[in-house]
Symmetry: C2
Subunit: 494 residues, 2 copies
C-alpha cells in the first residue's frame, strides 16, 4: 500500500464501511459481553494458558491490514476470552456489574473524544464535571470547595499529598524537597498501597510513611496516631498529612474520622480521607455514619468506578479548599492552551488544576447514571450491597467450613474456608501452613472451571483468606447461595 502521493482529494476513511463495522461490533458487544457475559448459565472466565491464548487471538501486528470478517472475529475472541467482570458471580475486585446508563455515557464520551482542559473544547463537560463534583461534595457536607476527576484513586491520593505539602511550603513547587525538613505522612498498615507508591513517586520516600496501629477490625487507633506524630516531631521531622481510609481494601474498615480529625486539629495536619472504596456509603442514610466527621477533612478521594458501578476509570478528588490551592499548586500557565485573552471567562479552563494535560472525560457516565436513578437509586444499591454482605455472613455462620476473619463493617467479607481435613486441627503445628494453601487451590479450580471469581490474600500474620466484595447491582440471593455452595464443592476434598 503505497502512499497516494499528491492525491489529496479524498479522505482516507470511509464512513459507511466504518459505521457498518461499528454496528457489527456493537452487536457482538451486546451479545457476548452484556447478554452472555451476565448470564449465570455462562462462564465468568474462559481460562487459557498464556501461550495458547496468544495463539488463539493472533495478536501479531503486521504490515498489511486484515479483512473485516477477521476483525469481527477478533472482537468476538477478545470478548470471549476476557473476564466477564459484569457477571453476577464475579467477586474478584472492587468493581463488578454493569449499569446501562453509565455504559451509554461511556460510549458517548468515547465517541465525542474530547479533553477536559478548556471550556473551548469541552463546554458541556467542564460544566458537568463541576456539577458532579458539587453533588459529591454536598454528600461530604461541603457547600463550597474544589476538586477534579483523576485517573484513579492512587492519583487522587497523590494529589492530596502534593496539596498538603504545597500549603505548608509553597516554595516546594519551584525549589523542590531538598531544602525542606523531613516530611512525614501517617496512615494505617491496612491503607491502600498507593500511599506508599505516592510517597516514593513524589520524592518523600516510602520510609517517611509512618504506619499507625490498627485495632482488630483494621481501624486506625487515634491514640497511636497522636503518639507517632509526637515521636516523629521529636525526631526532627515535620508531620504534614494523615491519610485515613474509609473502607480499607481488604477488610473494608472505616478509620474513626472524628477522633482522627481531633488529632489533626491538635497538630495542624492535613486530613486526607481515602474513601476510594467506601465513599459511596455517603449516599446511604443508614450507613453514612461510618464516615462521621468526614466534613472535617481537607480532602477526600472517592472512586465511583468501584461501588457505584460507574465504570473504569471514575475517581474524584474532593477538596474543602476555597483558595484555589489546586490551581496554584499545579499550574504551569501554558500559553498554547490557557490563553488569558480569550473571549470567555478563562476560569472555565480548568486544565491547569491537573498535573495531566490530556484528561479523559470521566464525569458523563456518572452524571447520566445519577440522573437515571437519582440519589435515591444509588442509596438503594448501597443499602442492598450491605444486605447481601449481611446475608453471606449469616449463611457462613451456619455452615461448618466457613470461618470469618471478623464481623464485617462494610461489603467486604473476609473468611477462611476450612476443608474437612483441617477442621478441628487448629492446634496442629502445620495447621496455618496447610490452611494457607487452601485458597490458592480453590482459586485455581474456580478459574479453570470458570464458575466464579473471588480473590484471596494474606494480611499481617493471617494466612491466605478469601475476600468477597459484594457491590454489583446484578447480584441476588441465589448468587450468594451459589457462591457458598461452590466454595464447598471446590474445597471439600482438600
Amino acid at each position: 500500500m503505497e502512499p497516494t502521493t499528491g492525491d489529496l482529494t479524498d479522505p482516507l476513511i470511509n464512513h459507511a464501511d466504518g459505521q457498518l463495522f461499528l454496528h457489527e461490533a456493537f452487536k457482538i458487544i451486546v451479545e457476548e459481553v452484556l447478554c452472555k457475559g451476565t448470564d449465570v448459565k455462562e462462564k465468568v472466565c474462559e481460562w487459557r494458558e498464556p501461550e495458547e491464548l496468544a495463539r488463539l487471538l493472533d495478536l501479531e501486528l503486521r504490515e498489511k491490514g486484515e479483512p473485516q470478517e477477521n476483525l469481527l472475529q477478533r472482537v468476538r475472541d477478545v470478548a470471549k476470552y476476557s473476564i466477564k467482570t459484569s457477571h453476577p458471580r464475579f467477586f474478584n475486585q472492587q468493581f463488578a456489574g454493569v449499569d446501562y446508563h453509565s455504559l451509554a455515557g461511556r460510549f458517548l464520551s468515547e465517541a465525542l473524544n474530547t479533553n477536559l482542559f478548556t471550556y473551548e473544547v469541552a463546554p458541556v463537560f467542564v460544566l458537568m464535571e463541576a456539577e458532579v463534583l458539587r453533588g459529591l461534595r454536598a454528600l461530604v457536607g461541603w457547600t463550597e470547595g474544589d476538586g477534579l476527576f483523576c485517573p484513579g484513586g492512587s492519583t487522587s491520593n497523590m494529589y492530596a499529598m502534593n496539596l498538603a505539602r504545597y500549603r505548608l511550603y509553597p516554595e516546594v513547587k519551584s525549589q523542590g524537597l531538598r531544602s525542606l525538613p523531613q516530611l512525614t505522612v501517617f496512615t494505617s498498615p491496612e491503607s491502600h498501597y498507593s500511599v506508599k507508591k505516592g510517597a516514593a513517586f513524589m520524592g518523600f520516600g516510602m520510609d517517611n510513611v509512618i504506619l499507625v496501629k490498627v485495632d482488630d477490625g483494621g481501624r486506625m487507633i487515634p491514640e497511636d496516631l497522636d503518639e507517632k506524630i509526637e515521636l516523629s516531631k521529636s525526631q526532627g521531622a515535620v508531620p504534614f498529612l494523615v491519610s485515613c481510609t474509609s473502607g480499607t481494601t481488604v477488610q473494608g474498615a472505616f478509620d474513626p474520622l472524628d477522633l482522627i480529625a481531633d488529632v489533626c486539629d491538635k497538630h495542624k495536619l492535613w486530613l486526607h480521607v481515602d474513601a476510594a472504596w467506601g465513599g459511596s456509603v455517603l449516599f446511604s442514610k443508614k450507613h453514612s455514619h461510618l464516615m462521621k466527621g468526614v466534613h472535617r477533612a481537607n480532602s477526600v478521594a472517592w472512586n465511583p468506578h468501584k461501588m457505584l458501578v460507574a465504570g473504569l476509570q471514575c475517581s474524584v478528588l474532593l477538596l474543602k479548599d476555597t483558595t484555589d490551592l489546586l490551581k496554584k499548586c499545579h499550574c504551569a500557565n501554558a500559553t498554547y492552551l490557557f490563553q488569558q485573552d480569550k473571549f470567555y471567562d478563562v476560569n472555565l479552563d480548568i486544565g491547569d488544576k491537573s498535573v495531566q494535560c490530556s484528561r479523559k472525560v470521566d464525569c458523563l457516565k456518572l452524571w447520566l447514571m445519577w440522573k437515571a436513578v437519582g440519589s435515591a437509586g444509588l442509596e438503594q444499591r448501597v443499602d442492598k450491597a450491605f444486605l447481601h454482605a449481611r446475608y453471606v455472613v449469616d449463611q457462613m455462620k451456619k455452615r461448618e467450613g466457613f470461618q470469618l476473619l471478623g464481623d464485617p463493617q462494610f461489603v467486604n467479607v473476609c473468611f477462611w474456608f476450612i476443608p474437612p481435613s483441617l477442621r478441628g486441627k487448629e492446634k496442629n503445628a502445620d495447621y496455618q501452613n496447610k490452611l494457607a494453601k487452601v485458597a490458592p487451590v480453590i482459586k485455581e479450580r474456580m478459574m479453570k472451571q470458570g464458575t466464579m471469581m473471588v480473590g484471596y490474600q494474606p494480611l499481617g500474620d493471617r494466612v491466605n483468606f478469601f475476600r468477597i466484595t459484594i457491590l454489583s447491582p446484578l447480584v441476588s440471593q441465589k448468587d450468594m447461595d451459589f457462591f457458598l455452595d461452590e466454595i464447598e464443592r471446590l474445597g471439600n476434598d482438600l
Copy 2:
C-alpha cells in the same frame, strides 16, 4: 424510592430495559456524533454562554431518577453542544478525526470494564498490551525492552524522570530526595509543560528544570546543552536527565536526537524522548529520519491518541531497559493483588510496574486499528498528513494575508493572518500590539459561527499566531481550502 429492605430475590438492574436504552443511545451517537458530527455542512461547535448551556443541559443531580425519554434527550443535548472533534474542520488540538476500528475497540474496552493489573482479570489485555508495546518498540529500533500504557503523555514523561533518578539513586524510593544532591533536568523552552509540572510534582522543583536554547525552528541546540550541563555540574548539581522533544507542541520541532545522544553519552545522562506528538513519524519510511538516533534513548513517550487517532487516552512509555527497572522502581508488592503463590506465571501480573492501581485498558483500540489498516495504513495516514501540511504552506505562500512563522518540520503550521489594515505597516510602533489582537478576534468569530476551530498562542517574543495541526484522516484538500478562505473571511475587516 425506599430501599427494599430484606428483599434479595431480584437484582436491581433490568437487562432488557437497560439494553433498550443502550441501543437508543447508540443510535443517537451514530447520528449526532458520527454522521452529523463529521459532516462539513454541519457546525463544528454550537457555542453557548456557560450560563445558558448549564440551563439547556439541566445539569442538576436530584433525589429521584428521570424517565428514559428525558435521559435520551440529555444524550442528544450532550452530543449537540459538545465540540465535534472528529469534524474535518476541527484543527484546534493535537487530536482530531475518528477511526471506526479504534472506536469499536473503545466500546469493547468499556463494556468489558476490566483493569490492567493482573493476568487473572485481564488475560487478553496483558498479552495484547505486551504485543502493542513490542510493535512500537520495534519502530524505535529496539528488539528488547519494557514499557507501559499511561494515562497521558504527561504521566509518561514523569515516569521517565522517576526511572532515571531511581537508576542513579535507588535509595530515593525509600529515603526520598532530601539526602540526595540537587538533581537537574534539561529540556528546551519549547518542550511540553509536563516536564515542569512533573518536576514540581515529583519533588525536584521547577527551578531544577534547566532550559536549553533552541534554534529558529525550535530545535534544541546540542552545544548549549553541553554547556548548561557543565555549568550545572560546576554549581554542584547532578544533571541526570535530558528530555528531548520529537514534535514540539506549538512548532512541531524535532530536537536533533543523535547529537543530543552524544552529549548524554559524554555525561552519562538518561536520554528521554518526548515523542508524544511526533512519535508517529516512526511509521513512515519517508519521515522517520526526523527521529534519527531515537534508538539511543533510554525512554520514549508516545501518544497514539494524538496523530494516530487512537482516541483519548492512549499513551505509552517505551523503555530500552531489560533489567526490570520499571517494576523495581514502582513496586509496592501489595499482597491482595500480586500474590506470589498463584497458579500461573506471576510475571504476567504487570500492575506493579505502574504507580497507578486501577489502570484502564488503552491498548485494544490501538491494536484493533493497527490490525485493520496494518502498519502500511498508518504510514499512509502519516504521509498524507505531511502532504496536507505542505499543501497548506504552499497555499499560504500564495495568499497575501498569511505569514508563516517558519518552514514547518511537521504537521503544525504556525502563521499570522495579517488583516488588510495591517499589511505593509510592519514598521509601525503599534504593529505587534495590533497583530496580537487579531487571532483572538478571529477565534471568537469562528467559535460563535461554529464553522471551524483552530488554536492560537504567543511564543517567546512572537505575538499571538495560529497553529493549525493537520492529522485527521477525514481531512481532504477542500477542507484546507475552506480553512484558508474562512480565515480570510473572518479577518478581512480587521
